[in-house]
């Protein structure tokens, strides 16, 4: 696909208020402040790929204890039971709440993995200067940003249960440390998505166009 940028002068765009301005002559030499909103202007998010990778690796490490360890322990009439994310979903399904079970399964188990895998794919594609289907890759990034937050459902469920159910031996719910890892996965994947700069997807194409233009002249 052609580079359809309208302007042929080197430009930078503020990440916050989106104003487009002429790029300063020299890179470096201190931070450039946006004339409209005052944010620090970068051509691309700084250290985007390494930061994203770091958060992804940390999220992957936390993903296993998050699913393996129980997130809560519930006591009902003296009977204690520990629940992991997965047994919580099985419980919902067994009580006939299929739609909710499906939502929680997708939000808690599928979404974190899908998010980690897609972001990893995006980082690698940028690193390898891939020119493969940039529009679809951009859409993937957009979807990652939209669905990632839904993984928080289980953290909230535990919070609500803990707040409501504290009646001693009659009924009681306590947090277990699987919840800490689970919360960490959610935070780390959000940070990973925020660190990735989708503009990098298009840079390989612009380089290619530059080369073609140079050859043509």
């Amino acid at each position: 696909m052609a580079n359809r940028s309208l302007v042929d002068w080197p430009h930078v765009q503020c990440h916050v208020c989106r104003i487009v301005m002429r790029a300063p002559q020299r890179e470096g030499g201190g931070a450039l402040g946006c004339p409209r909103c005052g944010a620090i202007v970068h051509r691309r998010k700084p250290e985007s790929l390494s930061r994203t990778m770091a958060f992804l690796i940390a999220a992957t490490i936390c993903y296993f204890p998050a699913n393996f360890y129980p997130v809560m322990e519930s006591t009902s009439l003296g009977r204690a039971q520990e629940d992991t994310i997965l047994t919580g979903i099985v419980y919902l399904a067994e009580s006939g709440m299929w739609p909710l079970a499906a939502i929680v399964f997708i939000a808690s188990i599928v979404v974190p993995i899908a998010k980690i895998v897609s972001l990893l794919g995006l980082v690698l594609s940028v690193r390898w200067r891939s020119r493969w289907r940039p529009r679809d890759r951009a859409a993937t990034y957009r979807i990652v940003g939209l669905v990632g937050r839904w993984s928080m459902v289980d953290v909230y469920v535990v919070t609500i249960l803990v707040a409501l159910v504290h009646m001693g031996t009659l009924a009681n719910v306590e947090v277990r440390f699987g919840a800490v890892f689970f919360a960490a996965v959610v935070v780390l994947t959000i940070l990973a998505a925020e660190s990735f700069d989708p503009r990098l997807i298009w840079d390989a194409l612009e380089e290619g166009n530059g080369r073609e233009r140079a050859r043509a002249s």
Partner: protein
């Protein structure tokens, strides 16, 4: 001619003409560039005022009550955070506080601070910084997810005890679509131009 940049792919293009109520998308990557509505500021300001009121109600009143053998507990959002703290879960407690209380509160308060003066055609100090922070808080404000969490928790408790929905639940139910509409409707470019005194 005005030029606009795509926030997601950095393509720069001429600002397309968009009829009232329409939206423009990036020609290169397909991301939303902006929406145009001749009353964007008025509508969003009204929505944010409504959101602020509902947010206070949603936080003051309990959203769920739970009754077992004559004993009843009910919980507000802040109570939930307290309960986590009491169990020594500082990390999870601050995450819940941050995503379900602090970020939405900050988002609403900052939007009020910016849209109020913009609506009345005034300027107040720190508008640009305030509007910048709105964007920063947005990914961390997850009230709609919290609402689903209430439903899931309700179902889990249903065969253990009696579950009574509280006032805050209705407030949440209204607040979420209102806040979503406000952030979808808002023409950020127009607000930035007003803040900078360009339009």
């Amino acid at each position: 001619m005005r030029i606009v940049g795509c926030q997601e792919c950095d393509a720069v293009m001429e600002e397309p003409f968009v009829p009232d109520g329409g939206a423009a998308y990036c020609i290169r990557c397909g991301a939303l560039l902006f929406r145009r509505h001749h009353r964007t500021i008025e509508v969003c300001f009204a929505l944010v005022v409504a959101a602020a009121i509902l947010f206070v109600v949603a936080n003051l009143y309990p959203f769920l009550a739970f009754e077992i053998q004559g004993q009843m507990t009910q919980t507000t959002l802040l109570h939930g955070v307290r309960a986590l703290l009491d169990q020594g879960e500082r990390g999870v407690a601050s995450l819940v506080f941050m995503t379900a209380i602090a970020s939405p509160a900050a988002e609403i308060a900052l939007l009020l601070y910016v849209l109020g003066p913009v609506y009345f055609g005034r300027r107040v100090p720190g508008m640009a910084a305030a509007f910048r922070w709105v964007e920063r808080f947005r990914p961390w404000s997850m009230m709609e997810v919290f609402l689903i969490g209430i439903f899931v928790a309700g179902v889990k408790l249903a065969d253990l005890a009696e579950i009574v929905p509280g006032t805050a639940l209705w407030a949440f139910g209204l607040l979420i679509p209102i806040l979503a509409a406000a952030s979808n409707f808002l023409d950020a470019e127009l607000v930035w131009r007003r803040i900078a005194g360009e339009a």
